[in-house]
Subunit: 335 residues, 2 copies
């Protein structure tokens, strides 16, 4: 399936003036925040906007929030709606990008089979595209980040959970049920083996994800062993490890070894030369550096390069911009 | 890269009569045996031939053996060389199918960067194609076995070692260095974590591969615990497990659980709906049945179907026949 091509119905309400429209909207719908960017057809960002999504769960309410943000962005840029030619949105869950349907998100949103693309097209009268947020970040890194010019790579998002966006021959791998890259439940040495139910953190997430790292920390924490707070976050624990705290170093080692095992296993299967590490926890340099050292010991089998995200926390948003640009171009071509 | 298309130079010595040629040769080059089949353009096998490759290591000697076998097959079928329009060979190692080069095989052959396709084309004056033996088996299962009509599946070859042939959107995944699917070193719970050097069995091979299973058996064996021979092979151990031997059941459980973990991990990454189990050890029904039961416990996350090879030990050979047919067709189209 060709991810970057607009396949949906052509909206009937297209304004003839739109042929000269030359701006797009990229949206990053998160469990706690909504971020938007207005960009031109070269991907240059003209403005960004964000708001909390706390308490907002209904898909139509999210679309209204997006509409509100788009109005604000256009106003700031002294543009009108006729300046827009496409919109793309990343959603925090399993997404059928071909039909534009968000199949399932985590408990924060609780979406099931939401036709997000149709909702956006109906609301904006513009061609729209949607994909999973991790895949969106992979598009971003591919087009404007650490994987520019690389047709085969894996984007690893390490945040509360762990997910992968897999690019093969320049195309995203979605899988037959749109769950490719949902690696949070991968089984590696040291990870819990017991089957887990939906909604609970996966095997590697309990060692590499933000919540898992906190739990490991709290399980090992005692006042005698460390002056660092028992309530430290994953990145604070990594900071403490870099500052020499022995317990924090242990926890960092466990996380980074587990991450290295994940990268190693994916490398064996896909023989993919590049891994780009992102996400709120993955962006901490300590994790990537320690995982790289672990991988170094296994170079006899695989030699993947592990680099830090080039776009940081903007990867999804920039991916959405580029998907919107592709969607606009494909639409013009079709129309 | 399009695996089934003939990309090589068009041989200069083509006989004009060849335009009416309508038979192909499939070859399966193993570490201990060479097997050949003569087939028509529908894939119907007209005859097979095999010989030992013990002591034969030189690539040119292997090509001479193939030539000898082809002569024999043609003679049996009352055909001449002009009846042939292509040949394809599976090699037991990492193979660049685009350039037709066998990059590396195990110690049995010891090949490094052997231009096998060119050697075959020069010797036979026919378009030739080569690939890794596990990929060849995947082609076989896809075209004539358990994965017919399925565009996304993984063929798992469990023999002395463990390897995978990965088909995505109807095309083999080769990886950037032609090692995709070399999963013998995958790290799963229960498998040894220590890095291993080239030439030694990988982590999961030590628990699922034929030699590994024998070692586990011998490590746990004692006369008091089982009447089964200490020198039993993997399939004999599986037979004993089915017959109720407690120690053999333990070993089968360890192997099948490890295999289930491998399938589970690949499923998470690729979201691939079908796994086809083959290879000399994998063809034993006890392994697949026990692995299927293990996977059943984890259906909340992935629901891959695990089926037994439809072609058994002929998978590679039948894959080679189909690759030869594709090569002949592509060559005619180009010529």
């Amino acid at each position: 399936m060709e991810q970057q091509v607009y396949n949906g119905p052509i909206p009937l309400q297209l304004d003839p003036q739109k042929s000269s429209a030359s701006y797009v909207i990229g949206a990053d719908i998160g469990g706690t925040n909504l971020r938007l960017a207005l960009a031109d057809m070269s991907g240059r960002i003209m403005g960004t906007w964000s708001t909390s999504t706390a308490g907002v769960r209904e898909p139509q309410s999210v679309v209204e929030l997006i509409r509100h943000g788009v109005d604000s962005l256009l106003c700031q840029a002294s543009l009108t709606h006729t300046a827009l030619c496409a919109i793309a949105a990343g959603a925090p869950g399993v997404t059928n990008s071909e039909l534009g349907i968000v199949i399932a998100t985590s408990y924060l949103m609780g979406w099931r089979n939401v036709p997000l693309r149709d909702l956006l097209e109906a609301d904006f009268g513009l061609p729209a595209a949607v994909d999973n947020d991790v895949n969106m970040a992979a598009i971003g890194e591919h087009r404007a980040g650490a994987a520019q010019g690389v047709s085969d790579f894996v984007f690893l998002a390490v945040g509360t959970g762990v997910g992968a966006g897999i690019m093969i021959n320049g195309k995203l791998l979605h899988g037959t049920a749109w769950t490719a890259g949902e690696i949070g439940y991968m089984l590696v040495p040291g990870a819990p083996e017991a089957p887990v139910e939906r909604g609970t953190p996966g095997a590697i997430e309990s060692l590499v994800g933000g919540e898992g790292i906190k739990k490991v920390w709290q399980g090992r924490w005692s006042e005698e062993r460390t002056p660092v707070s028992k309530e430290a976050t994953a990145t604070e624990i990594f900071d403490a490890a870099l500052a020499g705290d022995a317990l924090a170093k242990q926890v960092l080692q466990l996380s980074s070894r587990t991450l290295a095992y994940v990268i190693y296993n994916i490398s064996l299967i896909l023989n993919c030369p590049l891994f780009v590490l992102g996400g709120s926890v993955g962006l901490h340099p300590a994790l990537g550096n320690a995982a790289r050292a672990e991988l170094e010991q296994r170079r006899a089998r695989v030699q993947p390069e592990l680099v830090c995200s080039g776009l940081g926390s903007d990867a999804q948003l920039i991916g959405a911009i580029h998907l919107a640009i592709d969607t606009a171009k494909a639409h013009r071509f079709v129309a």
